[in-house]
Amino acid sequence: MIHSLFLINCSGDIFLEKHWKSVVSQSVCDYFFEAQEKAVDVENVPPVISTPHHYLISIYRDKIFFVSVIQTEVPPLFVIEFLHRVADTFQDYFGECSETAIKDNVVIVYELLEEMLDNGFPLATESNILKELIKPPTILRSVVNSITGSSNVGETLPTGQLSNIPWRRAGVKYTNNEAYFDVIEEIDAIIDKSGSTVFAEIQGVIDSCIKLSGMPDLSLSFMNPRLLDDVSFHPCIRFKRWESERVLSFIPPDGNFRLISYRVSSQNLVAIPVYVKHMISFKENSSSGRFDVTIGPKQNMGKTVEGVVMTVHMPKAVLNMNLTASQGSYTFDPVTKVLTWDVGKITPQKLPNLKGIVNLQSGAPKPEENPSLNIQFKIQQLAISGLKVNRLDMYGEKYKPFKGVKYLTKAGKFQVRT
């Protein structure tokens, strides 16, 4: 299926190549560069490119293009999903999926790629198995390795590959047994000019950090599971149990993983925690405009809205901006035309405001469209959908684990049209 993989950085250098079948020349990437040039913007490079003899399927992650070479029919999502899994694995191993991290750990990267695909077909993609095969680098281990000459390839054979619970490694031991769940919800919304909500829905995930010894069998129940409209599961979850009892029952992988992601659909009413008052105008036949934005809290369930950041892609004609912020600080990048206003916390007593003058290129026509405002914010200890974890039970092990649940609401793709 997947013939070869090339990693390309933003300046167009191929800094890693791996072939699972016969070798494909680097020159195949020229087709990719061509498409990249045509697309102008990195995110507009088509993920699938057809060349005379091959097909190139690529993803763009963390300033790296993962370009895979395909020769025959294959579901494109299969390849895309796999490439993202590769990037996730790098992230997991090296803390970041950057060019330097990959170059520094090129041998581990190669070993990983070797294990993840066999003849182009995915073999081991579960991080727990991979970590059994190839230990992730740590500072301590690299020091020890250099002294003792031992390696980061697992000495024991990976039994996880053979088990029926491939996501969990055997023989896990912890002195402190802990299980943490983060319920993170993101609000996706489009607010129109007048402040009414065009579209809003909640995307949630439960990220877990499970450090439990042995083979714990957990079941997590919710106070109001019916809220979860559309759920996708980690493979460890028993689907039947969820169908019948609306309980998440699973033997967890070891470490960090995403248990479920869910959607609370737009049919439900979604509370919008902030409102934005805006006044952006450009005068006809003059090279300036006015900019005035105020952010205030709304339906925030008595919690503080914090970490508020507003980013605006200003029209190309904008030359510079002279603004004053009543709170926080702002920056305007005259090259990319991006205005960023880091607001911080919103206090209802004194609403943060940013206003001032926009300078346009002289002679340029007045921009037709006002830019839309992208808002980010965070609300701690609140799941905006109202989802609540009821209890966590553990079976199969004798010890008593420490359990914790954290809630967080964030803005997802939260956009205000002006």
């Binding site: 041998v107 088990s163 028993r238 079976y395």
Partner: protein
């Protein structure tokens, strides 16, 4: 042995090629690639470093010459690396390998290091070894001869006791693309395909496409391997083998038949990548094997499409009225296998893997009845939150789907709204979907959205939006004027691109009703002064030419202006100028005659021959000369004919002839290796091809048939035992022994693990069984041979035979395996002790235990060696090669059991319902009882029958298959059982609540009832969301038992025992005898057996005499034996005897059987 011989020659030639010194060559001539003679264990370690240096010496010199710049810059470093690789220290080797791998990763040539690297292939250090593998796989193709030197290491690895080492050896061996080793690979794959370890078998499946790509002549042999692996029952193998199937022989759909149901049932437990491949393959399979679920609607669909804007409700109404007229056609009934596929893939919509979700979505789109496709929309919309590449692919597919099934995505309209931060390619796709979804009810919202988009800064996107508006306007008449006005306003936009795009779209719209819009045409005529975009100019000119009668004054003036600038125009514009001139000449020759001639003259000398041609042609056509013939008269008709308005269509229309989710669909062109999605067949192919040889106990009638065929040869056997029921000839303990050993039983706990264990232990018991058979045949022959035979047991041909037998045998395990625990060691020892019961002599049994002990996984090597000494065997094969399989990780099994049981429960439910509905031969004769009539149940009708399957969650319960059909017009919700009123001791295992039952739908569930061996009815309330009904299930006595397998001897022994017990109390208490006359219709063996088995759930006991029939069963609750003997006397007379300690059951049973026989 041909390939073997070939192999033996290999190393010599390889060695010659690297020019070994004579001495070394001599030494090596003895070391064949296959270390069959046992010696020459580690060939490489035997070689001294000096010799290896010689080996690479010839390579060193040409190196700088043939490898280019990369090498020349760092020749020193390479020497350096070679030295490090030659050193004895692993750490230095590792360092060198790491540097080499880094070079490979950067795409630098490191091929000249090949000899130095390859000799480390047998290095003890795992990481060095792995890196050498990486190197080898990369460069073996370029240095084929040298690569051969490494083969022996892998061949040794293939025989390693550790399954992981076997697997990795096979993996690397098969990855080396050296054509000369094809026979070795073939051999290795064949062997690995029958390996004990599913992991090795999985690797074998992976190796198949590798070999195929290397040498496609091996196809036939590979297909055999694939066929064999397809029959594998482990989830680990399933995905990989289907992938191999898809790459090697996707056209051999016939290989799937027998495995279809198994694949469907395994699907949810297969790893995610395998799921994708299997689902895609099954989609194609289903298209060839089942009938279209929408066949009755296909006619309607066409109608619906004509009524383009008809909302779905209207369609539904149409459906109703028209289906009435279609009733004459054969009603469509979905094949249960088709349903099975749909049902088992549905949960996968919840997968975290976008590829799996997409695979299920396309399966539903291509296979599901129209009414059910809707479920996929939600999952697809969820994917829109994912990475932008995923969004891109999903949106492409949604765009195609939304044309055919608009209603499906309508509720999610807002999810396709566009954000200014979306990449342009995503925006355009979303726009496409929004346009496809537009209908009369939502058009106003959509247009309002579009209005915001038009002001976007992204001009490509704006242009696409204008196109979209145009499409909405043509499709939805109501909004045409609004759209047109909006577009006209855009004509004054500052951006030329926007204006141009608007012009093009307006032109198309105007064509629909030109007469009303002469104002707009006039307005556009003015634009010719400003607009420079050629396409737009051309559009305006065409428009004016076409409707010059509506704008009689302006048209000639436009032509005048264009004639002036003619030479500077683009080609496309020039053509339209000629066009306009011609049309004007025909309608208004007075004003435009000269202009036209001027334009035509200009065109005559144009650089573009297309334009010259056009000018010449038009001149002849419109300007009458003596030469121009009749055509001239029709010039006006030709030019000013009524032209049909263009239909603005989505570029995604009809893309669904490609399988959705495929690369070909995305590219809208056939990709290499794309398998066409076949059209539905008109006639359904025979569904029975999917029937698997179903285990006997589920299939009484067919069992009988088969047995009758088999019986004779077995009876001729000295001991009069029959093969299939062989294990029954030992004591009951031994029956349970084989069960517990097989560790199976759907509920023995270890969750999905049970499969694997089953597999492993299945192998064991097979071999054991086989062994027994041999023992009987060659009892007096020398013992040593036996062991060797046994150790050879894994050779492919034999394995196959065993596989078949395993199939026959397995049911017994499954049947009763339930309550047994699966501790391996315990069961093995137990088995060895009980083995000898069947009357074989002591020596035999001793041997038995020995061989068994050798198999015993945990006791590892020493045991077999000891055994060898004990019996002084002379083995044909090196016994070291035969080592027990390492124990499987069973640690999880006991821990997870409790919760996994519930999972398994679900699985078995599926199985049972499948078996009961699908395997028609048995159940056609099964009697169905009514629980709730359609009338009393207000449209809900409920029927039940006894499926005769073991009820997995509780072996003491009788499984009752209940079938609900909803005959109402509305959904019935929350169907469940409540308040069972039971006699003391009776228990009911309720089925899972049925959340909803759509109108016309039928569903079936299984519930378990423990009747306490009485025929008292179980009473309960059957609740729906609105009502409650009273229901009662009363079992016929024959259903209170489960079949037992035993031999004739055993049967007699048991019978005696029962009688003796009876003597102790009252004679006759445990035996009921009745005489009867068999009717004419019931004389043949076949009918008798069939009637008895249909009256009671018993199994036949093989029996020597012709005129006797014996059956045995155990009551489900208490497990007391029920033995039935039917003796045919002279004429039609017969005598029926039933032995059972449960007198009541016996009496009732006699009555029932007589009734069944004499009816």
């Amino acid at each position: 042995m041909k390939p073997m011989q070939k192999l033996l020659q290999l190393p010599a030639s390889a060695v010659n090629l690297v020019r070994f010194p004579p001495g070394a060559a001599g030494e090596d001539a003895k070391s064949p690639v296959l270390p069959a003679e046992g010696g020459q264990q580690s060939w490489y370690s035997a070689l001294q470093a000096d010799e290896l240096r010689l080996l690479k010496a010839p390579e060193q010199q040409p190196a700088p010459d043939n490898s280019a710049g990369a090498n020349r810059t760092q020749p020193l470093r390479h020497d350096d690396l070679k030295e490090m690789l030659d050193s004895n220290k692993d750490s230095l080797k590792l360092e060198a390998m790491k540097r080499i791998v880094a070079m490979i990763a950067r795409g630098k040539n490191a091929s000249d290091l090949f000899p130095a690297v390859v000799k480390n292939v047998a290095c003890k250090n795992i990481e060095v070894k792995k890196l050498v593998y990486v190197y080898l796989v990369r460069y073996a193709e370029e240095q084929q001869d040298l690569a051969l030197l490494s083969i022996s290491t892998f061949q040794r690895g293939l025989k390693d006791p550790n399954q992981l080492i076997r697997a990795s050896a096979l993996r690397v061996l098969s990855s080396i693309r050296v054509p000369i080793i094809v026979p070795i690979m073939m051999l290795a794959i064949k062997e690995a395909a029958s390996d004990m370890s599913p992991y090795v078998r999985k690797t074998a499946a992976h190796a198949i496409p590798k070999l195929y790509s290397l040498d496609s002549d091996q196809k036939d042999q590979l297909i055999e391997v694939i066929e064999k692996l397809l029959a594998d029952k482990t989830t680990l193998v399933a995905g990989s083998v289907v992938m191999a199937f898809e790459e090697v022989c996707p056209e051999r759909i016939d290989l799937i038949h027998k495995n279809y149901r198994k694949l469907c049932n395994l699907l949810i437990d297969v790893e995610e990548w395998g799921q994708v491949v299997i689902i895609n393959m099954l989609t194609r399979y289903a298209r060839t094997q089942f009938l279209s679920p929408n066949q009755n609607e296909s006619l309607l669909e066409e109608n619906a499409e004509k009524a383009f804007y008809g909302s779905d409700e209207e369609d539904a109404k149409d459906d109703k009225t028209e289906t009435a007229s279609l009733v004459k056609r054969k009603p469509y009934v979905m094949d249960p296998d088709h349903r099975l596929l749909l049902r088992n893939t549905k949960p996968l919509l919840q997968s975290r893997n976008a590829a799996v979700v997409m695979a299920v979505a396309q399966l539903y789109f291509h296979l599901a009845p129209k009414a059910e496709v809707g479920v996929i929309a939600k999952a697809l919309v969820r994917l829109l939150r994912s990475h932008s590449e995923v969004q891109y692919v999903v949106l492409q597919n949604v765009a195609t789907m939304s044309i055919k099934r608009r209603g499906m995505f309508e509720p999610y309209l807002k999810s396709f709204y566009i954000r200014s931060t979306d990449p342009t390619q995503i925006k355009i796709l979303k726009l496409e979907v929004l346009t496809n979804l537009a209908n009369e009810t939502n058009i106003s919202t959509i247009l309002r959205e579009f209005q915001t988009y038009i002001r976007s800064m992204d001009k490509d996107f704006v242009a696409a939006t204008i196109q979209a508006i145009g499409r909405c306007a043509t499709n939805i008449g109501k909004v045409r004027d609004t759209c047109l006005n909006g577009l006209v306003q855009l004509l004054s936009n500052r951006d030329e691109l926007v204006v141009a795009e608007s012009v093009v779209v307006i032109k198309k719209l105007l064509q629909m009703q030109p007469s009303q819009h002469s104002e707009i045409i006039k307005h556009m005529a003015k634009l010719t002064d400003n607009i420079q975009v050629p396409m737009a100019r051309a559009s305006i000119l065409w428009l004016i030419g076409e409707y010059c009668e509506h704008v009689p004054k302006i048209a000639p003036d436009v032509l005048r202006k264009m004639a002036k600038s003619f030479t500077n125009e683009e080609d496309i514009v020039k053509l339209q100028v000629i066009n306009l001139a011609a049309k004007l000449y025909l309608t208004n020759s007075k004003q435009s005659k000269l202009l036209t001639q001027y334009v035509l003259n200009l065109a005559k000398y144009d650089q573009n021959y297309d334009i010259r041609d056009r000018a010449r042609f038009i001149r002849q056509l419109i300007v009458p000369t003596e030469k121009s013939g009749a055509l001239n008269k029709y010039a006006k008709k030709l030019f000013l004919a009524q032209k049909p308005a263009p239909i603005l269509e989505s570029s995604f229309k009809d893309r669904d002839h490609f399988q959705l989710g495929s690369l070909s669909h995305l590219l809208n062109a056939k990709a290499v290796g794309y398998q066409e999605l076949p059209d539905w067949p008109d006639e359904a192919p025979d569904p029975s091809v999917r029937n698997v040889e179903v285990p006997e106990w589920t299939k009484c009638t067919s069992r009988e048939k088969r047995k009758e065929k088999v019986e004779k040869p077995f009876y001729s056997d000295s001991e009069g035992e029959s093969g299939p029921t062989e294990s029954a000839d030992s004591e009951p303990e031994s029956v349970s022994e084989s069960e517990s050993e097989s560790g199976s039983g759907t509920e023995s706990g270890s969750g999905s693990g049970s499969e694997e264990e089953e597999e492993e232990s299945g192998d064991q018991s097979e071999e054991e069984e086989k062994e027994k058979k041999k023992k009987k045949k060659k009892k007096e022959k020398e013992l040593p041979r036996k062991a060797s035979l046994e150790s050879m047991g894994s050779s492919p041909s034999e394995e196959e035979e065993e596989g078949k037998k395993a199939k026959k045998k397995k049911p017994q395990h499954d049947r009763k395996g339930g309550s047994e625990s699966s501790s391996e060691e315990g069961s093995v020892s137990e088995s060895s002790s009980s083995e000898s019961d069947s009357g074989s002599d002591a020596e035999d049994s001793q041997l038995e235990t020995e061989t068994k002990r050798r198999k015993m996984p945990p006791s590892s090597k020493p045991a077999p060696k000891a055994a060898k000494k004990g019996t002084k065997e002379i083995s044909l094969l090196d016994l070291d090669d035969f080592t027990p399989p390492p124990p499987l990780p069973t640690s999880s099994s006991s821990l997870v059991s409790s919760s996994l049981v519930t999972d398994l429960e679900g699985l078995t439910l599926i199985d049972t319902s499948l078996a009961s509905t699908v395997i028609s031969p048995v159940f056609s004769s099964v009697k169905t009882y009514e629980l709730l009539h359609r009338m009393t149940g207000e449209g809900l009708s409920v029927e039940y029958y006894f499926s005769r399957q073991p009820f997995a969650p509780d072996p003491h319960m009788v499984a009752v298959q209940i079938q609900f059909s909803n005959n109402t017009d509305s959904e019935v919700k929350n169907v469940r059982i409540s308040e069972p009123k039971l006699l003391s001791g009776m228990r009911v295992q309720e089925f899972k609540e049925i959340e909803s039952l759509a109108p016309g739908e039928t569903t079936s569930v299984v519930m378990g009832i423990d009747f306490c061996d009485s025929t008292q009815a179980a009473n309960f309330q059957l609740c729906t969301h609105t009502r409650q009904f009273y229901g009662a299930i009363q079992p016929p006595v024959g259903e209170l038992m489960a079949p037992v397998f035993m031999s004739e001897n055993e049967f007699k022994k048991e019978q005696e025992q029962l009688l003796r017990m009876g003597v102790g109390k009252l004679t006759g208490m445990s035996e009921i005898t009745e005489k009867l006359t068999l009717p004419e219709t019931c004389q043949s063996d076949h009918t008798i057996v069939q009637r008895v088995t249909s009256a009671a759930n018993v199994s036949r006991v093989p029996c020597g005499a012709d005129n006797e029939y014996r059956f045995a069963a155990k009551t489900v609750t208490s497990g007391s034996l029920v033995l039935i003997t039917l003796e045919k006397k002279e004429g039609a007379l017969a005598q029926l005897t039933v032995n059972s300690e449960k007198m009541v059951i016996g009496t009732m049973l006699v009555k029932d059987i007589i009734q069944a026989l004499t009816q």
